[in-house]
Amino acid sequence: MEKIGIEQISLAFGFIILMLGLWGILSRKNIIKIVLSFTLFDTGLNIIIVAIGYLKNKTAPILDSAELQTDTASKIVDPLPQALVLTSIVIGLGVTSLLLVYALKLYKEKKSLFINDYKDLKW
């Protein structure tokens, strides 16, 4: 059997964290905990993105030494997922902050963070 590399381990961790986040999202009743579970979910996703761009025994895509500047393609890991993950993190930040502000406002309305208390619209 092939040796399990760092990329598989981190990918697996990514998925596990993502699933943990999902579990929290679906089962926690406290709104803040749900929002936190969302950040967990996002983190898992981000780890997955980075893990996918990893290549065995390659280095970071920063060409700060002359050696890296020739035949670059065979020496570095994929720069694109790293760019994507940056975007993903920033979006996650925006969404999380807005979610938290929403939670704050909900709390102001009913003095409760119990998600089952907010069923004003239904059917």
Partner: protein, 1042 residues
């Protein structure tokens, strides 16, 4: 052409600039934002114009110096131009609508609006998957921001649910995107389309995640509770933006990405779409909050689009036409409806009668509802038609059925709502405040959807053949509504007369008869309209629309023209019927039966078009596949208009509640449209069989039973107009029976009977209408003794019922005579017996009209009643003259009709010798019979008069008042429950079984609706569970396991 990248640059630039303006500068921020939205609308419209007129080629817009797939590129093609135009215009007009609200909140609110529109533009144009994700996030955060423009617990909690769902969905999208990149090495959508992504499990799972995420954005049932809540919780202006701009963009994203999926998966999504369509409309049935109802309707429309796009491999190249035409209708209508809802601000659709404070809003409301339901002349009419033609033309009957069921449900709650607005009492406490910036968008969109309909028609192969002149004539009356009745009525009559004069020669034989019934009949009934004073708002446009539809039926060459005319007639007559006093439920059931029938006709025409290159009406002559099915669908469709048994429950109320001159229009004229339809159907398709059973044979039973039921019901009515209405049902049963005979004599009977029925029913309805006009009541037991006060009306009714009852010497008898000849020839004696029996019952109720209304004692309160208005009597006497003429010279009517029928059914024709008709069973001479009968009558009458000249008169109520005070005074009237003994004996036959049947269907639908909506318990977390469950279940279905 302005580079579309400036759409992004300008919107972003202005949004960033708004940060410079603090509190005091928010006006400037507002005006700048509107300018920017105006500019981007201009840019996208300029491109659209280029594509439509100059054959402009699609343009790629690159960012940075590099070509895709290395950098992100945008595409501006024809579709992109359409969608960005829609989005930008919505941004501009929706921004105008929200202007005050946004200004209150400050420049940050304008930023959210600008960035929403910017994001939507990019997600339409971008060809890069990750870029799509980024800008979808921008749009959904902007929406989440706009939802809380008005902050209350509803908007905040709905926004929170929206963000939770959005977070989960965008997570799926991102995960799928990243794995697609892993498998393909590119993020460019075109690059992905070039690879087959469904070979490897991994990449097909990635495709699954991406597509499912996009589908979830479109709010599929049942993972859409969050969507419905947002529509209800947000400000109506924001819901309009979501429904019209956001959903529009999402649909395009779906269109763009769906080719990545395997064909099988596309079908699965189409199935989800159609389930969403039907289920959401079902749930719409039980909604009373206008915004929530509109939310369900929005979701259903998007579901329909999802289904259409998923089926694009079946539908073929007309997919885009269908999608855009349905989407455009939805876009204008839903925005307009949400806006109106935002203006009148009520929590119940029952309060929408406040719309009557503003005529223009009420008219717009009607336009939007019709556009949404897909009636002509709106874009969705053509879209739905094309869709049904394509699907049924390719044997996809299940899809057709589901689409029609869903559309029907939507029509049900939409027209119920329209009925509330038009008819329910005005709630006194609510009076909407109408601001200019809110009403202008509504009017603009109402006008646009009509224009869009015209353009859609012009872009449709058969749509451009439609003759819009009659409709334009009808609509022109909207512009002269301020004129008095007298002028408008004269113009309308002149219009009908001129049209008939110019065109009657171009109609073929049988068509000419019906054209005469429709147009000359129209003129006659319009004459009675001179009796009305004032302006009679809303009457003429719709009356003329009905006549436009009727004449369109006759002129139709293609199936689309025919269907268009059929629907036009329905719209016009619906508004005529709803004018009546207590007509709210009757008008609704009329509309529902008509729409149901129309859908059957549409499906029938679609199936008939299988394998046909052109869609002229002549395809009915060459139906090769499913001919019996086509026949039944069309026949049942037409019979909703002839009100045959089972489909009749709309008629009595609708006709009885209508105004004096509307009753004859809808009863004497409109019903003949169904007869005309059946006639051309039988002429084209002949006798069809289900197995070994002949369909016309079944039809003959339908006709016979309709006649029996109609006449029996008529006999038990207390309401004079209802009596006539039921009598119409019965009479149409005769006509259907005559047609079903499929013989020369049978058809001759049916056609001549239609003409006779037209005249006598117009006569009777006008006469009774005149009586009701004066007495203000329709109950016969409140009348009596009117012979002295209204002698002219009495004479009309007398002649009318003699014809109706079919006793000699008048033309009714010659009809009956022919009828029994035809029955004997065909040897359908059982049905013949049923008809004979119903003929006797006809006699019973005819008698009541004379007896209860005109004979007996005059009521105290009617001592000073005047004769019916002159103008209501005029058409009656014209009709009387014609009726008597035909009775005297039956040959002059029957002979030409017989000649017209010869090419179709040459056998068994009547031989004419002057006015002497001979068949194998006997002979008939109208003139001789007339002279003999009149002779006998004069003798007997003279003798009676002589004997009774010393008769003593007694008071009417002298026995009853001697003993006790009656609990219900009407029970003491001699005419009340006149046929009680018969009712006891055979009344069970007319127990309202059929009405109960339809009621039960209605209740059942509401109960299911109730069950479904319970899914949406309002808990944001439950909605998330729905979403995850949706993903897992769809995965299981599409992969058949994990």
């Amino acid at each position: 052409m302005v580079n579309p990248i400036y759409i992004v640059a300008v919107l972003l630039g202005v949004a960033f600039t708004s940060g410079f303006f603090s509190k005091k500068g928010k006006n400037i921020a507002g005006y700048l934002s509107m300018l920017a939205l105006g500019f981007v609308s201009f840019v996208s419209l300029q491109w659209l114009h280029g594509f439509l007129s100059e054959q402009q080629a699609a343009a790629q817009i690159f960012t940075t110096a590099f070509k895709p797939p290395f950098s992100i590129n945008l595409l501006m093609g024809k579709e992109e131009a359409v969608f960005t135009s829609l989005i930008n215009i919505m941004g501009l007009i929706g921004g105008l609508y929200l202007f005050r609200k946004l200004k209150e909140t400050g420049s940050n609110a304008f930023i959210a609006l600008l960035l929403l529109i910017m994001g939507l533009n990019v997600i339409v144009m971008t060809r890069d998957l990750f870029n799509l994700f980024v800008f979808m996030e921008i749009s959904s955060i902007a929406i989440a921001g706009l939802i809380i423009l008005s902050q209350n617990v509803k908007s905040i909690s709905s926004g929170f649910k929206y963000m939770l769902a959005g977070g989960l969905i965008s997570g799926m999208l991102l995960l799928g995107t990243v794995f697609l990149y892993y498998f393909t090495g590119t993020l460019n959508i075109d690059g992905m389309l070039q690879q087959n992504l469904n070979l490897v499990k991994g990449s097909s799972v990635a495709v699954f995640l991406v597509i499912t995420a996009i589908v979830l954005e479109l709010k599929p049932f049942p993972a859409n509770g969050w969507g419905v809540d947002v529509y209800e919780g947000a400000d109506a202006g924001i819901s309009a933006l979501i429904s019209s701009a956001y959903a529009t963009a999402s649909v395009y994203v779906f269109m763009k990405l769906i080719p990545v999926a395997s064909e099988q998966f596309q079908f699965l999504i189409a199935a989800i779409g159609i389930i969403t369509f039907v289920a959401s409309n079902l749930m719409g049935l039980r909604q009373s909050n206008p915004n929530r109802l509109l939310g369900y309707s929005s979701i259903s429309q998007i579901g329909l689009l999802m289904a259409i796009i998923g089926l694009s491999s079946v539908i073929g190249e007309s997919t885009n036409f269908i999608v855009i035409s349905i989407l455009v209708s939805h876009y204008f209508a839903k925005a307009g409806l949400f806006w109106i809802s935002g203006i009148i601000k009520t929590n119940s659709i029952r309060d929408w009668s406040v719309l009557r404070h503003s005529k223009i809003l009420l008219v717009s409301f009607g336009i939007f509802i019709f556009a949404l339901v897909g009636l002509p002349p709106f874009p969705s009419f053509f879209g739905k038609w094309e869709l049904i033609m394509n699907l049924s033309g390719s044997h996809n009957f299940i899809w057709v059925t589901a689409i029609l069921v869903g559309s029907f449900l939507e029509a049900a709650y939409m027209f119920r709502w329209l009925g509330y607005a038009i008819k329910l009492e005005l709630p006194s406490e609510i009076k909407p405040v109408i601001k200019l910036n809110k009403i202008i968008p509504v009017i603009l969109f109402a006008a646009s959807v009509i224009t869009a309909g015209y353009f859609t028609g012009m872009n449709h192969e058969y749509g451009k053949l439609i003759n819009y002149i009659p409709l334009a004539f009808a609509l022109a009356f909207v512009l002269i509504e301020f004129l008095p009745v007298f002028i408008k009525n004269t113009l309308a009559i002149a219009g009908l007369a001129l049209y008939f004069y110019l065109n009657y020669q171009s109609y073929t034989d049988i068509s000419r008869i019906f054209a005469a019934i429709f147009l000359l009949g129209g003129i006659l009934t319009l004459l009675a309209g001179y009796a009305y004073k004032g302006k009679r708002l809303g009457f003429f446009p719709f009356a003329l629309m009905m006549f436009a539809g009727l004449i369109g039926l006759i002129e139709a060459k293609s199936t689309l023209e025919f269907f268009y005319a059929w629907e036009l007639m329905t719209i016009g007559s619906y508004f005529l019927i709803i004018r009546g006093k207590k007509s709210i439920t009757h008008a609704l059931s009329y509309m529902l039966f008509s729409i149901g029938g129309a859908y059957l006709i549409m499906a029938g025409l679609g199936i008939a078009s299988i394998g046909k290159a052109d869609l002229t009406l002549s395809i009915l002559h060459q139906v090769t596949e499913y001919a019996p099915l086509v026949f039944i669908l069309l026949a049942v469709g037409f019979m909703t208009k002839t009100a045959s048994i089972g489909l009749h429950i709309w008629l009595p109320g609708a006709h009885a509640e209508a105004e004096a001159d509307v009753s004859p229009m809808v009863s004497a004229i409109l019903l003949k449209a169904g007869v005309f339809g059946l006639l051309i159907l039988l002429m084209a398709m002949g006798e069809q069989f289900i197995g070994k059973v002949s369909i016309p044979y079944l039809l003959s039973w339908v006709g016979a039973l309709t006649a029996l039921m109609g006449n029996m019901m008529a006999a038990f009515q207390e309401d004079a107009k209802k009596l006539l209405a039921y009598s119409s049902i019965g009479a149409l049963g005769y006509a259907v029976f005559g047609l079903s005979l499929m013989s020369h004599l049978g058809w001759l009977t049916a056609i001549s009977f239609s003409i006779t029925h037209f005249m006598l029913k117009a006569l009777l309805f006008l006469a009774i209408g005149g009586v009701v006009w004066r007495l203000k009541t329709k109950d016969m037991y409140k009348m009596g003794g009117l012979i002295k006060r209204m002698p002219f009306s009495f004479f009309s009714v007398l002649i009318g019922i003699i014809v109706l009852a079919g006793v000699p010497p008048l033309t009714g008898f010659s009809g009956k005579w022919l009828f029994y000849q035809a029955v004997m020839e065909k040897q359908w004696f059982l049905q013949g017996a049923v008809l004979f029996f119903s003929g006797i019952i006809a006699f019973l109720y005819c008698f009541r009209l004379i007896h209860a209304i005109f004979l007996g004692q005059l009521k105290d309160e009617h001592r000073n009643v005047k004769e019916a208005p002159f103008w209501i009597l005029v058409p009656q006497y014209i009709l009387l003259a014609v009726l008597l003429g035909f009775s005297f010279l039956p040959g002059s009517m029957l002979k030409p009709i017989g000649n017209m029928l010869l090419p179709f059914l040459p056998d068994g024709a009547i031989h004419w010798n002057g006015q002497l008709a001979t068949t194998v069973y006997g002979y008939w001479n109208g003139k001789t019979v007339m002279i003999i009968i009149v002779g006998i009558f004069s003798v007997v009458f003279g003798w009676l008069w002589f004997m009774n000249r010393k008769a003593r008169k007694i008071k009417q109520f002298n026995i009853v008042y001697a003993a006790e005070r009656p609990f219900r005074p009407e029970t003491t009237h001699f005419a009340y429950n006149f046929f009680a003994p018969y009712k006891k004996a055979i009344g069970f036959l007319v127990a309202p079984g059929i009405t109960n049947f339809w009621n039960r269907i209605d209740e059942g639908a509401h109960a299911v609706s109730d069950k479904f909506t319970k899914l949406y318990n309002g808990n944001g977390q439950t909605y998330l569970i729905h979403i995850v469950a949706f993903i897992v279940v769809i995965y299981l279905i599409s992969f058949g396991g994990f």
